[in-house]
């Protein structure tokens, strides 16, 4: 009777240990964690009332850049602000077009993407971080109140 109980206990322990080992093995991400690292803000600088101003994604001093680490198939969603706002609540509309986005995997070539749509790419294990560059156009009105305007541009990385 006692021998039978010991056998059951050993078997139960083995089962639990096996399940735990399997859990740890499966729970470990296959390709590391996904992280979004904000870099440079998108800066339109000083605008003249009534004069649209574009920042190209190739403009190294003014474009936004955001780095994403992670491997495998990933989708990036850029949440673009419709406008920038001053402290009084007045706004300057922003426009983004199909060629306002660039991405780069590691030190690879720059590729154009449309920041208005999700971008899905596969990052190889040896690929390095993905950097997204985003430009855009600010469209102040001819009677745009003077002052400082701001907004947030967010990148969501999904794997």
């Amino acid at each position: 009777m006692q021998a039978t109980r010991r056998r059951y206990c050993r078997t139960g322990f083995r089962t639990l240990f096996g399940a735990f080992a399997l859990f740890v093995l499966c729970a470990r991400p296959a390709a590391g964690q996904v992280a979004v690292i904000p870099g440079q803000p998108l800066r339109f600088g000083t605008l003249l009332p009534g004069v649209p101003t574009r920042v190209a994604p190739t403009d190294g001093t003014a474009r936004a850049d955001i780095q994403v680490t992670g491997k495998g198939r990933m989708t990036f969603v850029v949440v673009l602000p419709a406008s920038v706002t001053n402290i009084s609540g007045q706004t300057i509309p922003l426009q983004f077009s199909a060629n306002d986005g660039l991405y780069q995997v590691g030190k690879g070539p720059l590729n154009t993407f449309d920041p208005r749509s999700p971008l899905t790419i596969t990052v190889p294990a040896s690929g390095g971080a993905v950097t997204l560059y985003v430009g855009g156009t600010a469209v102040p009105s001819s009677i745009q109140p003077p002052g400082s305007y701001s907004a947030l541009l967010t990148v969501q990385a999904i794997r």
Binding site: V34, S148, V155
Partner: protein, 179 residues
């Protein structure tokens, strides 16, 4: 017992797979822009106290808010084009008018108006070096404000007749106020 093994493994596998899938991460950067204010100032009229007769001591005052009535008298005015609030400060101001060695003490008073000699904007009459900020009616839309410059000239008894002028202009610094 083998069935129990397999069930536990299946549960563990299911739990593990669900943990490893659909990772998300987010990060944000700011988007910024600045619109500079429009602010220009032009002298519209120089202050002139006109003719004072001085057999005895007295003074001549040019008031803001209306065109002066005396002969040769002119209310000083500076036209300011602006699309935001602005502040006014005196950079430098003479304390007397002079002709040769003779000096007539002078002091200044200012007010905002929508015209060079029109009614003053409520609450804006003050010493020139203590002017309140001027508010833009519609920020972003360019509007015109006049800074009227009046003052008081003291004429002592027995001063020599002639034309007296200030050794320097009264100068103002206007600064746009933006958020």
């Amino acid at each position: 017992m083998r069935k129990i093994h397999l069930a536990a493994a299946a549960i563990a596998l299911a739990t593990g797979v669900s943990t490893a899938s659909a990772q998300t991460a987010t990060g944000s950067v700011t988007v910024s822009a600045r619109v500079d204010a429009v602010l220009t100032a032009t002298t519209s009229a120089n202050l002139n106290f006109g003719t004072a007769i001085s057999p005895s001591a007295g003074s001549v005052t040019i008031s803001t808010g209306a065109a002066p009535a005396g002969t040769g008298q002119v209310l000083g005015a500076i036209s300011i084009s602006h699309n935001s609030d602005f502040s006014t400060a005196v950079s430098s101001a003479p304390t007397y008018l002079q002709q040769g060695a003779d000096q007539l003490p002078v002091s200044f008073a200012c007010a905002y108006s929508t015209s060079a000699t029109g009614a003053i904007v409520s609450g804006s009459s003050a010493a020139c070096n203590a002017m309140p900020n001027r508010t833009a009616t519609t920020p972003g839309t360019t509007q015109n404000t006049f800074l009227q410059v009046g003052g008081t000239l003291t004429v002592p008894a027995g001063v020599a007749p002639g034309t007296y002028t200030a050794p320097s202009a009264i100068s103002f610094l206007f600064t746009a106020i933006t958020t």
